[in-house]
């Protein structure tokens, strides 16, 4: 399978003081293949949103790119200048769907004016009528009424707003879409509509691959092919959906899954079930395994040196005592 996005050893920190950094993304490596949906899950504060933002190569202060690469079509987008990033990458090759807060869209701008601004930024030769025609067509094909384009953001319900964000972010048929908690603030019906919308778009090849970030694992069960679990700024397990959820290897993943009822469609968890203790302070992450403080099977060896991602039973795990799976699923 073709590799769309390759992340190697990415480190991105928030600089909150002259010497103080929050190490939100601390040595993350992953690969995104064409045609897949990769879910990234973790509790709040684990760095998944920061990772989402970093994947597009856009590091907005106080977020800083420290080291590591993000290779898109072989080009490291963390190194190219901002102008090229804007013109060629953002919105076109990689697009971003934010969480639908009240303020995700400019409150005093009609959706269609924003769309015109967006498309003409990337294709200045397009006429306004042409832009609107394409937008109407696309919205229509996604079962979004044309009236939405004429509306102001505050005139739309939460679910409508999120679906509009999805439509707008994908207007230019980006290869990769990174969705940051797109369903978190929604009711069950709207959630389902958004996920269906995303699935339809993948099916129609409007986008090639999707990275779906959430703290609600059951959602991933509906759409993801592979899942990466993030903890304290690092990926601690990546595997297929069934591997990670039904046969977890990392103790953290295992504890999460085993205290959850098997996810069914329509069920929602408020938050990942709680594991006793709390994640380390990302300003001063501990040496060795970051989960060691809360891990029931941690040894001194775990705390001694930093642990790397290793192959284990067909997946990648950041643990030196991963849990063996009885049967391969």
């Amino acid at each position: 399978m073709k590799k769309l996005l390759v992340v190697k050893g990415l480190k991105a920190y928030y600089q909150i003081g002259p010497e103080e950094n929050v190490k939100a993304v601390d040595d993350v490596s992953l690969t995104l293949y064409e045609g897949e949906v990769l879910g990234i899950a973790g509790e709040s504060g684990c760095g998944k949103s920061t990772l989402a933002r970093s994947l597009s190569g856009l590091f907005l202060p106080p977020l800083r790119h420290i080291s590591g690469e993000v290779l898109l079509d072989g080009v490291d987008i963390t190194k190219i200048d901002e102008r090229r990033l804007r013109k060629e990458v953002l919105g076109k090759k990689i697009s971003f769907i934010p969480q639908s807060s009240m303020n995700a869209l400019n409150p005093t701008l009609r959706i269609r004016n924003f769309v015109v601004d967006l498309m003409r930024e990337h294709n200045p030769e397009l006429l306004e009528e042409e832009v609107l025609r394409r937008a109407e067509e696309r919205f229509d094909s996604l079962s979004l009424s044309k009236k939405v384009l004429d509306s102001y953001p505050f005139e739309l319900s939460g679910g409508m707003r999120q679906r509009t964000l999805v439509a707008v972010s994908t207007l230019m048929n980006p290869d990769i879409v990174v969705a940051d908690e797109p369903t978190s603030a929604l009711d069950v019906t709207s959630q389902r509509q958004v996920i269906e919308l995303l699935a339809v778009m993948i099916e129609r090849k409007i986008m090639k691959s999707l990275i779906f970030i959430t703290h609600e694992l059951p959602i991933l069960g509906q759409i993801a092919d592979r899942i990466a679990i993030m903890y304290a700024g690092q990926i601690i397990e990546i595997g297929t959906l069934s591997q990670v959820i039904f046969a977890s290897s990392h103790p953290y993943t295992k504890t999460l899954m085993s205290s959850m009822i098997v996810p069914e469609e329509g069920m929602r968890e408020r938050e990942l079930p709680s594991v006793p203790g709390s994640p380390p302070d990302l300003r001063h992450p501990p040496n060795g395994c970051r989960f060691a403080q809360r891990c029931p099977q941690a040894t001194d060896e775990c705390r001694a040196n930093d642990i790397k991602l290793r192959r284990f039973q067909g997946r990648l795990v950041r643990c030196i005592h991963p849990l063996k799976v009885e049967r391969e699923l």
Binding site: Q15, I16, P61, P62
Partner: protein, 248 residues
């Protein structure tokens, strides 16, 4: 206080320039400007404080009742507050001050308070409305506490820091309003305030004759006192409402 001399004592000729004897010279009456300044600052701050206290008490009461009671009580009080906010306070200040038989210091402060309570009322009302929905209010109600008691024990304590910040602004406003009234000739009688010093300087040709010591000190004092009060307000805001400011 700092000087045991009376500010109204004539100590020199008219508009003498600053000298060793009179560090800020003399004014149009031949009085020591420095002594007058100290006295004037005291008076202006007094007016600011009194008007601030009255405005804060009245405004907090009305604002809390309006925010807490809701419905038609809020409707009436809110309309009343808005009315006074829209009609220029400048006008009401003049109308009231002009009709006073005697413009004593306290009465002037009261008049200023009458025009400034709406600001406090509006701010407090907003705070009370949002506090009203909190858990502990419901608990208090379930425990059988009466409305008045709830307002006093459950809402006011949470607003102390906020009310104090508004109070600081009111004091600054009171000082400025007193100066304005004095410039119009409607200031307190038989006393010396910063505004009165300014109006004397203006009306007795201090500016034209270049006697800068007669007006620069009061102007400077007004600016510094007001500026300090605003800084206090900003400082308190930082302490009580820390905001995560992105750097970069």
């Amino acid at each position: 206080m700092l000087s045991s001399r009376s500010p109204t004592e004539m100590v020199g000729f008219l508009y003498e320039a600053p000298s060793q004897r009179h560090l800020l010279g003399t004014d149009n009456f031949g009085r020591d400007v420095l002594v007058e300044l100290i006295y004037g600052i005291r008076t202006s701050i007094f007016v600011g404080l009194v008007s601030g206290i009255i405005a804060t008490i009245v405004g907090t009461t009305i604002g809390t009742v309006a925010g807490f009671a809701g419905k038609w009580v809020d409707g009436v009080l809110n309309s009343l507050t808005n009315l006074f906010l829209v009609i220029p306070s400048f006008v009401i200040l003049i109308l009231l001050a002009v009709s006073l038989r005697q413009r004593s210091l306290v009465l002037i402060a009261v008049v200023i308070a009458v025009t400034s309570w709406p600001w406090t009322a509006r701010a407090v009302r907003a705070q009370t409305s949002s506090l009203k929905t909190r858990e502990h209010i419901n608990m208090a109600r379930l425990n059988g506490k009466g409305s008045f008691e709830i307002m006093l024990t459950e809402i006011l304590p949470y607003m102390f820091s906020y009310i104090f910040m508004v109070f600081v602004l009111q004091v600054a406003g009171g000082i400025l309003n007193e100066a304005g009234l004095s410039m119009l000739g409607l200031g307190p009688e038989n006393t010396i305030s910063l505004g009165i010093m300014l109006s004397w300087a203006l009306n007795f040709e201090a500016v034209r004759t270049g006697a800068w010591w007669a007006f620069v000190p009061p102007v400077f004092s007004i600016a510094i006192i007001t500026f300090s009060l605003y800084l206090v307000n900003i400082g308190m805001d930082e302490i009580f409402n820390p905001r995560l400011r992105k750097q970069g």
